[in-house]
């Protein structure tokens, strides 16, 4: 069972990487950019058939390692 964990910086946290990307896109001529935020995606393939159990496990992984909740938000997705 595959999951995608999408991790992004909270709105209040400065994202200098996103800003650098935004500036670079602007210099390439892309206009009308309001903002760019950079996050990360972690793909997890679990040997688990019970969906509820699997989501619980991935959530626990986020709590224990994948996410720093002081600065980051996360979303668990199942790829279609």
């Amino acid at each position: 069972m595959k999951f995608l964990v999408r991790i992004g910086l909270k709105e209040a946290i400065l994202d200098p990487q996103g800003e650098a990307i935004s500036n670079s896109l602007s210099s390439l001529g892309f206009e009308n950019i309001n903002s760019v935020r950079q996050g990360k995606t972690i793909e997890i393939d679990l040997d688990e058939t019970d969906r509820e159990q699997a989501v619980e496990l991935v959530t626990e992984m986020c709590d224990k390692l994948l996410v720093n909740k002081i600065i980051e938000n996360f979303l668990i997705e199942e790829p279609s």
Binding site: I13, L14, P16, L65, N68, I70, I71
Partner: protein, 220 residues
């Protein structure tokens, strides 16, 4: 003072730190590999060195904070043990929850490697007792993710309790309240981004780091 330096894959200041400790204590310190699960008996203080543990993968210090040795370190902390984390060691202490807040990417994105002026904000800690209040010192900094961040409530708590030990003069990396080093509320867990172990010999340009090690040693 019986000390231990914890070594992770990617630590690169462990030997500098061990050298700085042994020069000042005139006794060797224990080098502990991160896969060990127990600390030597009768250790007074643990040092967590700088470097790039696990290649800074995921977040700086996040993977090291879950290494096998960390259970023993957290137990040591719970019993009131003294722990000092420098640079990546500071990041590991915040990631493990032993110190509040976190260290994020420098605000201007560059890796900063230079001698930096710092202001002693609290000269009552085991690291700073040889300094006077508001004294200006110089120590090397070398980091990409040294921008100290915590929620406003936490920052206020650190300020009110005198837990901020060092502040940057100026603000090279965007840290909240210019924070360069803090301690826990029980004053026994200390973390700082600057490198005192790189400032213990005249040939290195500054010996202000020596005063930090002497402060620590005379506390035991």
């Amino acid at each position: 003072m019986r000390s231990a330096v914890i070594v992770f894959p990617g630590s690169n200041c462990d030997r500098d730190l061990a050298h700085a400790i042994s020069v000042h204590t005139e006794r060797p310190c224990n080098m502990i590999w991160h896969k060990d699960t127990a600390l030597p008996k009768d250790i007074d203080i643990i040092f967590i060195p700088g470097g790039f543990s696990f290649g800074d993968y995921l977040r700086c210090g996040a993977i090291a904070a879950n290494s096998p040795i960390m259970d023993a370190i957290i137990n040591f902390a719970k019993k009131g043990g003294y722990i000092v984390g420098i640079c990546n060691g500071f990041q590991i202490l915040t990631e493990s929850g032993l110190l509040k807040g976190t260290l994020i990417r420098n605000s201007q994105l560059t890796f900063i490697c230079k001698h930096q002026s710092l202001i002693i904000n609290n000269s009552q800690s085991i690291m700073t007792k040889r300094f006077s209040e508001s004294e200006e010192i110089t120590l090397p900094i070398a980091h990409h993710d040294g921008n100290y961040y915590a929620e406003d409530e936490t920052i206020k708590e650190l300020e009110d309790n005198g837990q901020i030990l060092f502040r940057y003069k100026g603000n090279p990396n965007g840290s909240k309240n210019h924070i360069a080093g803090i301690m826990s509320s029980n004053q026994r867990i200390l973390g700082m981004m600057p490198h005192p172990e790189r400032a213990v010999d005249e040939s290195l340009g500054t010996t202000h780091g020596s005063k930090i090690f002497k402060s620590i040693i005379e506390s035991f």
